[in-house]
Amino acid sequence: MIKIKNLTVKYPDGTEALRSLDINVNEGESIALMGANGAGKSSLLLAITGIAPYTEGEIYVDDILLSKKTVADVRQRVGIIFQDPDDQLFMPSVFDDVAFGPRNKGLNEKETVRVAESALEELKISHLSSRVPGKLSGGEKKLAALAGVLAMDPSNLLFDEPAAFLDPRAKRRLVSLVRNLGHTKIIATHDSDIARQLCSRVIILKKGSLSYDGTPDILDDLSALEKHGL
């Protein structure tokens, strides 16, 4: 569950990435976050994980107010999957990468192995365990990155353009796997297929402000999309 109240994100040079944004994402809900390039999608995702330094407003994750004190706790509850999986597969083998989070949590080796293996199993990629991340296919990398996030056992998942660079088959596989995850999800995407298949609700940002919040039906209405800057 993610609640955003009056959030404004400013970058050091003064440009506003987000302006007084209010969004509520309910438990188990899956929303598509859309908007033109530079509308503020990535800034929002980073703000929720406490990485983009936000200047005003409040962010609640599972009813915990994000602050300096709670940021470590919040990050355990939010998993983020970046557009380029190379950015988050930073260990020398898939297993070690998936185990990175659990080890940081302080689990013992037996627990770590169990958690990591079940995350790999959930995404049906146990066979990749000993592989080097750099040499996987795009789809495999994406799933390995997701497994690393799932091993942290977060209740909320943030995706940044999940289907980027995937071939159609890998995309279908990812969609069916993600659909089965019961987490609260925010999926930032330009891909209306993904939005339709995975989300019951669409939010469109325009120049840092909320422009649309409603059903995915809008995706078929080109003139309405045009109005929201898409």
Partner: protein
Amino acid sequence: MQGLTKATYGFHRLDSLARGNTAIHKMDPMTKTITTLIYVVIVVSFGRYDLSGLMPFVFYPVILMVISETPLKPLLTRMAIALPFCIFAGAANLIFDKETAFFIGSTSVSFGMISFFSIILKTILTVTAVLILAATTPMAQISKQFVRLKVPSLIVLLFSMIYRYINTALEETISMYTAYRLRAPGEKAVKMKDMGAFTGQLFLRSADRSERIYAAMKCRGFSGDYDHIRSGNVPRGEWLYIFILTASLLVLRFFNLSVFIGGVLS
């Protein structure tokens, strides 16, 4: 620029070799490192004219390569990297050390020739020994071993991550170079005056990537230290292997098998 492409393939090749399943692969990485180091030290401890004493040491890489099913080709490519400077140092011996040491038949063999061949042989033996280590031990195990050796976690993490991102950096370099070549068709390499922008751009891309990696690490609970990798101990049976191998290497070091065999025959 072929070097770049070659490097990516070389890397990939070693990695897939390291995932093999032979007796050598199953051995504890510590055992392999200890024996490799002992072997390298004993090989280079031979004096510069002691070629005959060195020759029996061929047994170690040959037997290990066969058992571990390590192919010859990656070895040859690595030799091409290591040999030139050694040949340079060895060639000097050919020139400066012309005094005859002995005759084989009617051909005179100079001291320089002996020391030249002993440098070449040492190069081949040491490079092969390290190759076998790298080709039979996956990277993740190598870092675990560092942890065992009490290497600071900062360095272990750094080592693993550099290894991880070399391929990404090589791929980025190759695609930038391709784009460069398309706009400068006549050039056989990057022009020196473009190097600042070319290499600088590459660095900035890396720096940007590091920001995202950091964000991903933070999201998974990273707090500056990563001393959570655990590893077991060297199995008892392997200590025996280390002991026997070291003992036989030491025997070969001080008992010149070649002279013995040569003496028996003549």
